[in-house]
Amino acid sequence: MTAVVEKLTAKDFSSDQEVRWCPGCGDYSILKQVQTILPDLGRPKEEFVFISGIGCSSRFPYYMDTFGMHSIHGRANAIATGLKATRPELSVWVISGDGDSMSIGGNHFIHMLRRNPDINLLVFNNQIYGLTKGQYSPTSEQGKVTKSTPMGSIDYPFNPIALSLGADGTFVARTMDRDPKHQQAMIRRAYDHQGTSLVEIYQNCNVFNDGAFEIYTEKSSKKEQTLMMEHGQPLVFGENNDKGIKLDGFKPIIVDLNDSSVNDLWIHDEEDLVKATILSRFYDDPAKGDHFPRPFGVFYVNNHKDTFDKLFNDQMAYAKEKMGKGDLDKLIAGKETWVVN
């Protein structure tokens, strides 16, 4: 007889804590999408663990009725790696932001991607420091005027997708707070992927950086400015789906589908790292003329790399098989002993 798995609802994943993000914050949407997805995964609630660092996004675990840890700035990835290595059967999620993951926690971010534990990493990128009330972040555009950069920031920003690919991430995707359906699809894909799944989520901070992603999220400009990638499909965008991306050697070019055939377009292949790398560089300032549209969706998936937690535990199992269960008294005695009478 199989046990009846109780079907959970989004409400079951909602804790009794009052949500305290600013009204209108993009975080609300992400929380809702995660709570919507989890019941569909068919796992008991106690198997989910949400770990966060510091920042507005990092309050997330308090609002989830799962196991959770709101840790310290930048370290969620390191904590999650330790948990996943030792408890591989759990579903471990990290909630982070652009500052948490790419500034103070940059080291853990790249090293987690490199090691590839089976962890879902949602990075809420709002291109600003919200919790500390409005300083520029490592993803803020150059020239950004903030409280700490009254004359404009001189730093060049990180490109999170390119950074993740550079760190050999095995699942790299981008979505946005204002597109619930797309977001749900990306979160689900992240969960299904075996390995570290990075989902960069463009998230509006309506208090300190309002409208940072408006051009991609507003109906009026979205179709013209975004490239919604789908595996096996040609790269098409534009108000009337009248534009496409073609590859001329390694050089991407925008073509007008009124004079060009859709059959000549670049077909998106999620498993092609070289092409993913080119797409990751579609990162121009949208104010510039001749810029490429900003890609959303899965840039890259590598399904052929073992996860860190698997390798870690396989080695443990191999050691036990090869050496047998340890004998503590033998170990304490060591190889050479002598007797004093």
Partner: protein, 616 residues
């Protein structure tokens, strides 16, 4: 042929010294093992430069290994050596000042050529071998290089390979001088070089050549017998502090039934614990070399959350980086053991030199009111006992625990009457049980009589809860900025540490009377030197006693009462005065600090001089 006389000695100090590439640490370790198997009590002191291969032949590159062994109780590696083995001028120059007048010097004459003299900055026209400066010593000049090369002339090995066997010649010779058994070294060489028979045979040949050299040349009029020590009966092994710490952790893992997770980043002198632990995966010991110190402790916190016995380890600079995460563990009220194998600081300091200057860091080195339990091992074998204790306290009180050791005991060796695992105190751990929807809501910060909260690990039905670094409401664990609650929680975290005092042994006087004129109150690796000094003072009729504190936070409950029984309390430390300030503050006694900050352990004669200065 001159007859060789056999003399009985009570104890001997030998110092092996050479270039850092000369294999002196290996020579010393082998001699230590043979001496332990012979049944002598012993203590060792490896003293080496931070560079793996410092410039050849220079003073900076000298690597030394001192061993003190005897038929009586041996507490320290010895203040001065009776025998100095010097492979070159630099080794001789660095170590001659610590050789007793009349002591034996065994010189490798090849290491005293013009090139070595120049590298060691010896003025021209001087050479200790023939300038008469060593008239006070019993000098044995041996051309180790030449004899080694001759012995291996037919080996087909290159000169460079042959010269690497020199240390075996010296070892063989010293084995002969002191009647040490040679078998364990033969066995060691057979195992170490089992894949390279030529090198194995060469080393064995040279080892035997050294032995035979003693036997056949007329240079050595004496051989020495040091009878086995009268130690407590039982089965013994030799142990180094870091090895003992690793064994203590593994034992705690086995006895608690919890797999061990060691999250760390390589750093001198703590790395050997990682090396050791990584070999024992079949004991469910999981090691994780993280990307940095912070990730090392954070991964351990993740493992602790998941229900493992979680440990992180480092030395002072790494502990500084871990500070924020130790604070997190304190707020999370999860069990965590933090090893600090101290070295001379601050900053990078002197990585291979010992110091006890991280006590303040362990006690106070975090933001906010952040008390943790602090234990300090006093000898190599005590690292086993206290690493085990640290795990036990962490697990049973749901609290971070510091284990302090230092470079001196971490790398020092001594005989150890090791315990049976069955005799180790049990470590009982239980996780919070699953709950049904109809049960009361789970309260993650509900406390038991030790004030510790339940360990509710992910995967347990009905225990879903959130923890974090933000202040928590007591009992519920919800975020709380309530003024009274913060004060309550601060007191609770302190009381939790204080309550540990109910579960640790009372302080004992290690040697001397229960009261008297002067108490030497030490902590950590100074134990042997203070014990030796005390024995000497007592022999001279002074009313001196010695106690070594191993539980520093909290202190044993009777410590204040013990302090009150002595007219004077002296606190010797290898720092600028850290324990002494805590003692003065807590017990209001006018304790006298006695400090040495040279990256070196106390010599017992230094301690004796200090006591006499105070008492006479």
């Amino acid at each position: 042929m001159t007859a060789i006389t056999d003399k009985d000695l009570e104890s001997v100090v030998i110092r092996f010294a050479g270039d850092s590439g000369d294999g002196m640490q290996l020579t010393g370790t082998q001699f230590t093992n043979a001496t332990a198997l012979h049944g002598n009590d012993l203590a060792t002191f490896p003293d080496f430069p931070a560079e793996i291969r410092a410039p050849l032949g220079t003073l900076a590159g000298v690597s030394g290994f001192q061993i003190h062994f005897g038929s009586t109780q041996i507490n320290t590696p010895g203040d001065q050596s009776d025998v100095l083995v010097a492979m070159n001028v630099a080794a001789f120059k660095v170590n001659i000042k610590n050789l007793k007048k009349g002591g034996v010097i065994i010189l490798n004459s090849d290491g005293f050529d013009s090139k070595n003299l120049r590298l060691a900055n010896v003025p021209e026209d001087q050479n200790p071998i023939n300038d008469g400066s060593l008239a006070d010593y019993d000098v044995k000049i041996v051309d180790v290089t030449k004899i080694t090369r001759a012995a291996l002339a037919d080996s087909g090995m290159t000169t460079k390979e042959i010269d690497r066997c020199k240390n075996m010649f010296v070892l063989g010779l010293v084995y002969w001088m002191y009647h040490r058994p040679i078998e364990n070294t033969l066995e060691f060489l057979r195992t170490k070089f089992k894949k390279n028979e030529a090198v194995m045979n060469a080393n064995i040949k040279v080892l035997n050549a050294g032995w035979n050299y003693g036997e056949t040349t007329e240079m050595f009029a004496n051989r020495y017998t040091i009878a086995p020590a009268k130690m407590e009966s039982g089965v013994y092994r030799g142990i180094m502090g870091n090895q003992a710490a690793a064994l203590g952790l593994i034992s705690a893992s086995v006895k608690s039934g919890l797999p061990l997770f060691y999250g760390t980043y390589p750093i001198t002198p703590a790395s050997d614990i990682l090396h050791d632990l990584s070999k024992y995966k079949n004991f469910d010991i999981k090691t994780y070399q993280a990307e940095d110190e912070i990730a090392g402790i954070c991964a351990a916190i993740g493992a602790a959350f998941g229900g493992h016995l979680a440990v992180t380890g480092s030395s002072g600079p790494g502990i500084a980086l871990k500070g924020e995460a130790i604070g997190l563990a304190t707020m999370l009220e999860l069990p965590l053991v933090i090893l600090n194998i101290q070295r001379a600081g601050p900053s990078t300091g002197m990585p291979t030199k010992t110091e006890q200057a991280d006590l303040n860091q362990a006690m106070f080195g975090r933001n906010g009111e952040c008390p943790v339990v602090v234990l300090a091992a006093q000898s190599p074998s005590d690292c086993f006992t206290l690493a085990y204790e640290a795990c036990k306290i962490a697990l049973q009180h749901m609290i971070p625990v510091f284990f302090l050791s230092d470079g001196y005991i971490a790398n020092g060796a001594e005989p150890w009457k090791f315990p049976n695992s069955a005799d180790l105190e049990p470590i009982n751990v239980s996780f919070a049980k699953e709950r049904a929807a109809t049960d009361d809501k789970f309260m993650p910060y509900f406390r038991d009589e030790k004030l510790s909260r339940p360990w509710a690990i992910p995967g347990t039905k009905g225990l879903e809860h959130r923890i974090g670094g933000i202040e928590k409401q007591n009992v519920t664990g919800n975020i709380s900025y309530d003024a009274a609650n913060h004060e309550l929680m601060t007191h609770l975290r302190q009381e939790k540490v204080d309550k540990v005092a109910d579960f640790i042994p009372l302080q004992t006087i290690d040697s001397g009377e229960e009261s008297g004129d002067l108490l030497l109150l030490g902590w950590g690796g100074t134990y042997g030197a203070l014990r030796t000094a005390t024995a000497q003072m007592i022999a001279e009729g002074y009313k001196v006693s010695h106690a070594q504190v191993r539980y520093i936070n909290p202190f044993p409950k009777n410590l204040g009462e013990i302090l009150g029984r002595f007219k004077t309390v002296v606190v010797p430390e290898l720092n600028n005065g850290q324990l002494v300030k805590i003692i003065r503050d807590k017990y209001f006694v006018d304790a006298i600090p006695y400090n040495k900050i040279q990256g070196l352990p106390f010599m017992s004669h230094e301690v004796i001089a200090k006591i006499k200065q105070i008492l006479d």
